[in-house]
Structures are given as structure tokens and as C-alpha cells.
Amino acid sequence: MTTALDERARHAADALHEAARDRIGEVASPAVKGRRAPLLVAIAAVSVAFVVLVSVAVAARDTESDDGRVTTPPSTPPTNVEIVNRWSVAEGHTKITSDGASVWVGGAPTPCRDTLDCDVAALIQRVDTTTGRSTTFPVDRHDYPVHQTIHALLYAFDSLWVEAADARGNENVWRLDPTTGDVQASFDVVASQMVATESAVWGVGSELWRIDPETGQMRRLPLVKIQDQSLSGASLRAVKGGIVYELFGSFGSQSTTPPPRALVFAPENGEPRVLEPSTGRAQWTTDDRFVWRLDRRDGLERHDVESAAPPARFSLEPGMNNVERVLAREPLVVSGNVFFFDPRGTVFQFDPTNPERVATHKLSEWQTAQRPHGDFVTWETRDRGGFWVLIDGGVFQLSGPTG
């Protein structure tokens, strides 16, 4: 009672089931575990994971002490994160950047009474963190109503780089004097995020571009976009040795996320290549040596971008099991430590060299019933670092670990 088609179909079904079985076996192998680990591996193998986690961490610590770079294990426990300073800024700002001594914030709505009679550009507020003095200047002035909105803000190469759009849909990047706000240059490019390398400012919006700060030459670069319905935009994260790590996938409040794909873009050859696709449930960021992967279930993974070694894995603090409620969705890496925030003002601090050393710090000043919004920027000096947090009309300077 079967047809040739039925026979063929059943055979093909068996073959596919078998291939899936093999695939799952492959998933469990150490070589691809980080990339394809199933959702509940951690649940099923907590005890094994703990042993592996500790041994991997020890191995990672040894490796790092050999080459002596970047993340030397701190000899003392992490110091408490404390609020060093706080300044009030205009309500509504959403972007922050810093040169280590000053912070600039922007993004507040243009203060216009009448939308048809508004020639005020978006405003940027600068706070001198030494004196506490605050000054405000516009991004640019026009002879028509603008209602500018700032999308990206970056301090680099002794200049302030601002991406702003006006009500007419004109979107530009301005290079400003960081103190006076004088326009040094403008570029006809769009960016939702900007970062700086040693030799260029990079931006990503509908395209990837690069500006040479010395010559002012702007170059548009081919960009691979992995489109997804729930993907709200590409994101650009970090830099290493002239290479920009292009991380796709932004993370909304949904329990499922589109699969981010980490692309590495090498300016010297002009072509990006895939670094590692993820399983669609992790968040990525980078510092100057590592690519960090925050997995909702399995904790942190750290990929050394210069080696093919398996990623080191760290456990998440139990209170962090709901990543959607963490304010700093990308971890902040300061002095080799990793920080996250939750909306109620708790700072989670991870020491990458010691996965068992997880500290939490409560910043009572941040307690709020509402989910706050804001932005973060890190700062580093020779012996210590910290971060500035823009939140609810205030800028907080937080101390980081002393290392």
C-alpha cells in the first residue's frame, strides 16, 4: 500500500533523523561546545561543568601569567565599586563619552517650544570632572528647523564625534572641538554606533564607514548584514590591532534573540570574514584582547582573539540568571574585570582570572522602581580604572577595581 514516493520519503526521513542524531553528538564535543551547546547542557551537567570550569580557569590563569599581558590576576580581592562623584545633567540625555577627565553627554530632545520655529540643534553637555563645571553647546546650527537627535557620541583623537539626525532626515557625523563645540568637519554618513581604533574612527549604521582623523578622508566599506525581523540594527563593538570586530545582533527584551554573528573586519584586506556564529542566545562584546560571550544559561565565555584555544568559561552569579533585567547588556571590562548592572543598582563584578570570585555591589543611589535607561563609558588610568554611568539625569563616576 505504499508508493515509490512514500518509500523514498521514509528513507529520506530516516537519513535525516540519523544525521540529526549525529549532529547532536557533534554538539556535545568539546571543540564546538561553546558554539553549539544546547540550551540545557548546564542544567544536565552542573557538577561536571563546575569541575571543568575550575580547571579551565586555572589553565587560563596560567596562560595569562606566562605572556604577562592584559589580565594579570589581581593579588587582592576585588575592591568595592563605589560612587566617587555625581553630577547632574539635563534630563533625557542618553549618550555619554569621556576622555578620562571630562564627560560629554547628549541625546536629550531639542528644547523647542514650537516645532515650526526651532533652530536649536541638539545639545551636548560637557562636565569637567575635576572642577565639576558644566558647559553646553549645540552640535551645529541651521537656518531651518532641525530638531536634531543624537544617535552616537564618541571622544577620539582630541575631538568629539557626534552623529545626529534632524527632522528633515539629514543625518551627519560632526567632528567638534571637545571644549568649544566648534565644528571642525562634517561627514555625510550615518551611524548608530561609533568606535575608534588606533588610526581611525569607525561607524556603523546602514553601512560601515571609516574616517581617517589625520586626513579627514572617509571611506565606505562593504558590510555584510545578517537581516532578521527582530534585529533592530547592526552593532559595532570593539577593536584590536587595527581590526574592528563587527558584531551583529542587538538584544531586545524578548526571550529569544536573533542569532548574532561575530564578523571580523580587516581593513587591510577590505573584506570581512565570519569569526564565529553563535547559537542565538548569547551577547557579545570585546575588550582589547578578548571577545566575551555572555550566555543566558551557561555564563561567560572568553575567547582570546589571538589564539585558537577553547574559550574559558565562567559561571554567572545566581542573581544574574535573568539577563533581560541587566541594565548593562554588554559587560563593561575595566582593568581586566567584567561588570554588569541590574536595573536596581546592583553591580555584578567578575574577576575573569578567578571565576569563583564574583562580587556584587549595591549602589543605593540608583534604586528606582522604573527600569532606568542610560549609557556607560569606561575610563582607565595607569593604575586603576572605573566607569561613568549616565542615568536618570545624572552622571556617576564609579571606581573600578584597583587590581
Binding site: M1, T2, T3, A4, L5, D6, R8, A9, R10, H11, A12, A13, A15, L16, H17, A19, A20, R21, R23, I24, V27, R36, P38, L39, L40, I43, A44, P222, V224, K225, I226, Q227, D228, Q229, S255, T256, T257, P259, L263, E271, P272, R273, V274, P277, T279, G280, R281, R296
Partner: protein, 174 residues
């Protein structure tokens, strides 16, 4: 923990099952992955889809009455939109020299699933559920939340199309 009652697939009486998510995941993981792979033709995408669907199921575990059906419906729906993007992705990956993680089976099985994916989305889903999951018309209708008539129509058209493209006889053998 997370114990729940599951309604079985199909038109049978609901079967009381006390099952936690871990058990469900272990039981369904392979077949769900195979289902997603059949619809997308790409292991990485199939794994992503499966992962997303399981994560979504886990998030609302207590609310689901038939997670087996629900998770396949999620994958069927999402694969349809994902599949439309694959052409663009494939071109993008080709530009950057990256290889996709295509599902490759020995012939003629590979050809069979390739032709199934070439069918209109609904036909492809119905055929896949029929042959890969061995579901009845009623079960498929319940799973996809469409009428049995629609299932029969899709099944008939899909089989006819497949028989034609694969050069197979769809007449019943004695």
C-alpha cells in the same frame, strides 16, 4: 519542578503527563532539530531555530498545553521567514568567502529534502510533518492550526509536485 500536563498530539483524548522541561527537551531535541533542518536545509540555522523555540517554550512552559505541537509550529512559522532570507544570506556569505553549514545527506535523500524545501512553504511543512514526523492529517491540522481539508490539499499537491520533480511514481504499489 515545572511539572505540567501535556495534551498529546492529535485527536486522541488528552494524556496526563507529568513532565518537566528537561525531560521534554531530552525527548524532543533530536526530532525538533531534524524538523528544522528539513525545513531550512542548514544545520546552523536549524540549531538556532530549535534553540530559540526551546528557549521560548521554556519561558512559557507552564502555559503551554501541547509543547510538542507548539514548538513545531513555532519552527514552521519561523523557518518560513528565515528561509526567505537565506538567499540574501547565501549571497552575503559567498561574498565573504564563508561556508554555510548546509544539511548534506547522501543521495537520493539529499535531493528529496531539497525538493521538499522547494515546495511552497505550507506544502513543505505538511510534507515534512507527514514523512519526518509520521503524523496523520488530523495531527498535522492540529499542529499547524489549519483545517484538515487544507492539510489534505497541501499533501496531495505536495506529493504530486514531488513525484513529478523526483521522477517517481506516486501510484500505490500493490
Amino acid at each position: 519542578m515545572h511539572a505540567r500536563t501535556e495534551l498529546d498530539v492529535g485527536d486522541r483524548e488528552p494524556v496526563e503527563l507529568t513532565e518537566d522541561f528537561g525531560t521534554f527537551y531530552a525527548r524532543e531535541r533530536r526530532s525538533v532539530l531534524a524538523f528544522a533542518a528539513a525545513l531550512t536545509g542548514d544545520w546552523a540555522i536549524a540549531e538556532d531555530l530549535s534553540q530559540e523555540a526551546f528557549a521560548a517554550a521554556h519561558a512559557q512552559w507552564r502555559k503551554l498545553h501541547s509543547p510538542s505541537n507548539w514548538i513545531r509550529r513555532v519552527i514552521a512559522n519561523r523557518s518560513a521567514s528565515r528561509w526567505r532570507r537565506l538567499g540574501r544570506e547565501a549571497r552575503a556569505f559567498a561574498r565573504i568567502g564563508a561556508e554555510r553549514d548546509a544539511v548534506t545527506l547522501a543521495e537520493p535523500d539529499h535531493e528529496f529534502w531539497a525538493e521538499v524545501r522547494a515546495l511552497p512553504a505550507r506544502q513543505s511543512q505538511v510534507i515534512t510533518l507527514r514523512y519526518l514526523e509520521d503524523l496523520s492529517v488530523a495531527q498535522i491540522a492540529m499542529l499547524l492550526e489549519i483545517s484538515e481539508g487544507t492539510v489534505k490539499s497541501c499533501l496531495s499537491q505536495g506529493r504530486r509536485n514531488l513525484a513529478k520533480t523526483l521522477g517517481l511514481d506516486d501510484e500505490e504499489a500493490s
